[in-house]
């Protein structure tokens, strides 16, 4: 029993043409028992920025609160939104501060920068981050998700095509993982706003 798979999670983020999408499953489990089917793992921190947190549920919630606090402080002091790259660095620092007693989360940052260009990054539980142009994945079935994304991803997808690619990648990946699934949610971020859709999937 790994502590990273104690609660179960699956998060994918993908870039399209002037848009990004982030999708996550909805399960909150305690090992083999499912507790809830509407647990939130993706958080809209700013109008054009989402953070997805996969891993231990308590640390997902703690880190969300921490991030909310730090980003609010930034907004008050600097009177501007925090750019995605800065959020990425902040998260990285927050995680490495606990290097020898870490938060058991592997975050994903997905958003549009000031020029409305897509930004994607993911990191491990001690804050080592990597940026990507195409897609990033995190959770208990990363193997499945990497395979599905590689197969379904094409560059320069429009928002509807991006939604389809994200939804199908997520659903097929979690269907083969016992610890994740039980529904899904997809957020597509464009310069005009955020479109959120709930996915109907296998409830097992």
């Amino acid at each position: 029993m790994s502590i990273m798979s104690y609660n179960g999670s699956a998060i994918i983020a993908m870039a399209g043409k002037d848009c990004v999408g982030i999708a996550a499953d909805r399960r909150l489990g305690i090992q083999l028992k499912t507790v809830s089917t509407d647990f939130t793992k993706t958080f809209q921190m700013q109008p054009k920025l989402f953070v997805g947190l996969a891993g231990l549920a308590t640390d997902v919630q703690t880190l969300h609160n921490l991030l909310e606090f730090r980003m609010s402080l930034f907004k008050l002091r600097e009177e501007r939104d925090m750019p995605p790259e800065v959020v990425n660095n902040l998260l990285s620092t927050l995680l490495y501060e606990k290097r020898f007693g870490p938060y058991f989360v592997e975050p994903i940052v997905a958003g549009l920068d000031e020029d409305n260009k897509p930004f994607l990054s993911c990191m491990d539980l001690i804050g080592s981050s990597v940026k990507a142009n195409d897609f990033v994945v995190s959770g208990t079935c990363t193997g499945n998700m990497f395979g599905m994304c590689e197969a379904l991803y094409r560059p320069d997808l429009n928002p509807d095509e991006l939604f389809e690619a994200l939804a199908q990648s997520l659903l097929s990946s979690v269907d083969r993982d016992a610890m994740s699934g039980w529904g899904g949610v997809v957020h597509i971020i464009t310069k005009d706003g955020v479109m959120t859709k709930e996915l109907k999937g296998r409830m097992d």
Binding site: Y6, N7, L28, I30, K33, V35, S36, D38, F39, L56, A57, T58, V60, Q61, T62, N65, G101
Partner: protein, 202 residues
């Protein structure tokens, strides 16, 4: 794991049931303990875990919620705020000196005029739910609740589901938990519905 806590949120209130056994290893200390603590006038928390953590955690939360009311001119915290306060207390203690308590927090929000039930495990993962159970009892009772619970059900139906769960535990759960205490919270506050053995009887 061995303590049973059951919770159901119905239209207008929340029911929480707990077993009344206080035991450690092979020894049964008492069978009339009350594990559902009243936090404020309109919230209660059913707790499972070692008695020391149960008492310390609930008293700490109860006193701090009371302090907030005294400091802030009688302003009451919403159920959601109280649940998040519990979560933060548990999460902060997690990496210092953890409380090994799993709780179901039920409350009636007098402003929003709705009942809310929150599930929180000992690692401080918090989730709002319509019904749930803590401990081994979950393995017996969650499927009964999944089957019978419908959105917008009333007090009588909720109590019926509760009693069904308790009956199932009495029949099939290895550990003998003869006495259950059931409490309700609705617009009129927290009160006892039924008691297996009177907690005051020492």
């Amino acid at each position: 794991m061995s303590d049973t806590v059951l919770g159901i949120q119905y239209d207008g209130g929340v029911l929480i049931a707990c077993d009344q056994s206080n035991a450690r290893s092979i020894l049964l200390y008492q069978t009339n303990i009350d594990k559902i603590k009243e936090l404020t006038s309109h919230t209660m928390m059913g707790v499972s875990g070692p008695n020391c953590d149960l008492v310390n955690f609930t008293e700490y939360i109860e006193k701090n919620l009371n302090l907030y009311e005294l400091e802030n001119d009688g302003t009451k915290l919403s159920t959601k705020a109280q649940a998040n306060f519990c979560r933060n207390t548990l999460a902060t203690a997690l990496r210092k000196g953890p409380y090994q308590v799993d709780v179901l927090l039920g409350g009636y929000d007098t402003v929003k005029k709705q009942a809310e039930l929150y599930f929180m495990d000992h690692l401080a993962a918090l989730q709002k739910v319509s019904y749930n159970a803590q401990g081994y009892a979950a393995y017996f009772c969650l499927s009964i609740m999944d089957r019978d619970y419908i959105k917008g059900l009333g007090y009588d139906d909720a109590l019926e589901i509760m009693n069904k769960c308790i009956k199932a535990l009495h029949k099939r759960f290895l550990l003998s938990q003869p006495n259950f205490i059931i409490k309700i919270v609705d617009k009129d506050g927290v009160r006892v519905v039924s008691v297996g053995a009177d907690p005051a009887d020492t």
